[in-house]
């Protein structure tokens, strides 16, 4: 991959985006003025695409050293020494943590949501991307985490941190239980079973009125500011820069989501480049061969299901805090598909890809809403087309390793 070709790819991507978006974004028909023509929206879209492409090229380069199956001591030639890298990471994290200080609350909410989705997508990468187990009902685990959190805080008065942990544990237990019957299933059958699980969770939440509120919503955020679980002087010190709690504890949610995402990325990256992660990849590549090399497939698959569900559960707890209320419809099949799309778009097995996929599919549509007013309406269509397109152009995903292709 020469720099020249990377530049060419970026230019090509933005040119194509420009050309395609002209008829949609630049031509408007209004009752008064007839057709109007304005190139600026198309130019903005091309700019956004170029920025995304540059980012993609950078991460892709990094992916050759950090991607699935890369030896863990491999370092890019331009890598900083360990100490400087740590400092740079810490500085970046601090910068991101301070974003809410100057950005609007809408941005904070959207960023929080994107980070929550990124946690789910990175967790889902363990089953779909690493172990090659197609899970189509992942929203079910998200729901289990969210409702566990909501029920414990509302009905039993639990505080934030223990209730969040309980959400993760409940979802993990559910993942284990779904994993048991799924052990004997492969491919399509597994997909159908997990899909059924997701829909069953939604149906239960919807029909159980006494505790979950059913269709009438579970008012999840009864206790704003509860996130300030760290009390006393240390707590004062930690939260003081954020002033008074936002309406829903927005800033605290943002920070907690950031912390959870960092923890999630850290542990899934470590998992991917360890003995257990290698067993997951081996399982994906060839189950029979993996068994014959000593991989206990039952244990390994259950590990994948359980840990993947746990991340969705932890994310669910945050969602419960962040939203005013929980409605079962939030956790429907479309959401599960969206999660899968995030993973596939980013690249199977790639942690950075999952983050990118989550960001792209959650943040881009609302941003583009200025130009395509009905874009959220068309989201399923767009995602479907995107997936089909990816299969043809880049089956390994944006940041996946190319090696399958090289294998011919």
């Amino acid at each position: 991959m020469t720099p020249f070709r990377a530049v060419l790819r970026v230019l090509l991507a933005s040119a194509v985006a420009f050309a395609i978006s002209i008829p949609f974004a630049s031509v408007r028909s209004t009752a008064e003025a007839g057709f109007t023509f304005d190139l600026r929206p198309a130019g903005t879209i091309a700019g956004v695409v170029a920025a995304a492409a540059i980012l993609g090229e950078l991460v892709r380069l990094a992916g050759r050293y950090l991607g699935p199956g890369a030896p863990r001591d491999a370092r890019p030639p331009f890598a900083l020494p360990a100490k400087a890298r740590g400092a740079a990471l810490a500085a970046a994290a601090l910068l991101v943590a301070l974003v809410p200080l100057w950005s609007g609350s809408g941005t904070v909410t959207m960023a929080t949501e994107a980070m929550i989705f990124a946690v789910i997508a990175v967790g889902l990468q363990i089953t779909i991307g690493m172990a090659g187990l197609l899970v189509l009902g992942h929203a079910g685990f998200w729901a289990v985490g969210a409702y566990t959190y909501g029920l414990l805080t509302i009905h039993l008065g639990w505080s934030f941190w223990p209730a969040m942990a309980a959400g993760g544990v409940a979802a993990a237990a559910m993942g284990f239980m779904v994993g048991l019957p799924a052990l004997r299933l492969r491919g399509d059958y597994l997909a159908v079973v997990t899909l059924g699980f997701g829909e069953a969770v939604r149906a239960v939440l919807k029909n159980e009125n006494k505790w979950t509120g059913g269709d009438a919503n579970l008012p999840s955020n009864l206790v704003p500011g509860q996130l300030r679980g760290v009390q006393g002087e240390i707590g004062q010190w930690i939260w003081q820069p954020y002033g008074t709690p936002g309406r829903n504890g927005d800033y605290e949610c943002y920070l907690t989501a950031l912390g959870l995402l960092a923890l999630c990325i850290f542990s899934v990256v470590r998992l991917a480049r360890s003995r257990e992660g290698r067993a997951l990849f081996a399982l994906r590549e060839d189950e029979t061969a993996a068994k014959c090399m000593g991989v206990d497939t039952v244990r390994t698959k259950l590990l994948a299901f359980t840990s993947s569900a746990m991340w969705a559960g932890l994310a669910g707890a945050l969602t419960a805090v962040q939203r005013d209320s929980l409605n079962p419809e939030l956790f429907d099949f479309n959401t599960s598909i969206l999660f899968v799309a995030m993973v596939v778009l980013g690249g199977l097995g790639s942690v950075a890809g999952a983050v990118l996929g989550a960001g792209a599919l959650w943040i881009l549509p609302p941003l583009l809403q200025d130009w395509f007013e009905d874009i959220t309406l068309y989201r399923p269509l767009v995602i479907g087309a995107l997936m089909a397109g990816m299969m043809v152009v880049r089956p390994e995903g944006l940041l996946g390793s190319r090696s399958r292709k090289a294998a011919g």
Binding site: R270, L271, R278, T288, A289, C292, M293, S307
Partner: protein, 256 residues
């Protein structure tokens, strides 16, 4: 010589078809045993029975006197039986080194917490696995492919990588399913050399092979299967001249 592996009346049925039928034989420790027979004779199925991939319908298999016929493949691997596959089954998108390191799963023990915290023992284990992988890639003559995706290796070298991966499990018994399939004569000769080196390491080898040059060149013992049944067994010279073998199999080919 003592028996490392003993098959007792091993039978494997697929519906009405007995792919392996009442096969009994022993593999002596330190030997190179060849399993030969026409296509569809049940050789691969026999390997599947031994390695636990497809447990026998009836009969028993003893490894060092321990019954293994109904054990899971990963447990059998841990006991010290490794195998390669006739239709190559590499972890295609992982590089050659990772393929071999993945097979160390058998002999390593880092759990999920060790992996997350990268404990001292986990790091030592990883380093050791990488050293072993590098050594095995050199040993099998594919060191130059260490960082290449397994699926992109030339065909013959993929077969060698399968052998390196199997060796990484530190087996006492190595099952090779048609390791020379698709190789040219020169590559086959090199392979014979490699199998000799493996045997010299004290590893007992059982191989399924069609190339008679390979079989006669290295095996100390031959088992002949036909239609799932064992029709002959013995040292190469005796088997070569056995009338049943000539009729069933070798008669169609050049024996020399």
């Amino acid at each position: 010589m003592t028996a490392l592996l003993e098959a007792r009346g091993v039978t494997k049925r697929f519906g009405g078809l007995a792919a392996v039928s009442d096969v009994s034989c022993t593999v002596a420790e330190g030997s190179v045993t060849a399993v030969i027979g026409p296509n569809g004779a049940g050789k691969t199925t026999f390997f599947n029975c031994i390695s636990g991939v497809a447990p026998p319908t009836s009969g028993e298999i003893l490894f060092r006197g321990v019954p293994i016929a109904r054990r899971a493949p990963h447990k059998i691997a841990r006991l010290g039986i490794a195998r390669t596959f006739q239709n190559i089954r590499l972890f295609r998108s992982m590089d050659a080194t990772e393929n071999v390191v993945a097979a160390r799963h058998c002999r390593t023990g880092a759990g999920i917490l060790d992996c997350l915290f990268r404990t001292r023992s986990e790091r030592a284990e990883e380093r050791n696995s990488r050293d072993i992988a590098a050594e095995l890639l050199e040993f099998t003559g594919i060191g130059r492919w260490a960082a290449s995706p397994a699926g992109s290796l030339p065909y013959g070298d993929q077969r060698r990588l399968e052998i390196a991966r199997a060796l990484a499990t530190e087996p006492d018994l190595l099952l090779l399913d048609e390791p020379a399939a698709g190789m040219n004569p020169k590559e086959s000769l090199d392979l014979v050399e490699l199998i000799r080196k493996i045997a010299a390491r004290g590893i007992t080898v059982v191989l399924i092979e069609h190339h008679m040059k390979v079989v006669m060149g290295i095996s100390t013992h031959i088992v002949v299967l036909d239609h799932g049944e064992k029709i002959a067994e013995g040292p190469p010279d005796a088997v070569r001249n056995d009338p049943r073998v000539i009729e069933a199999y070798l008669g169609k080919e050049d024996v020399s």
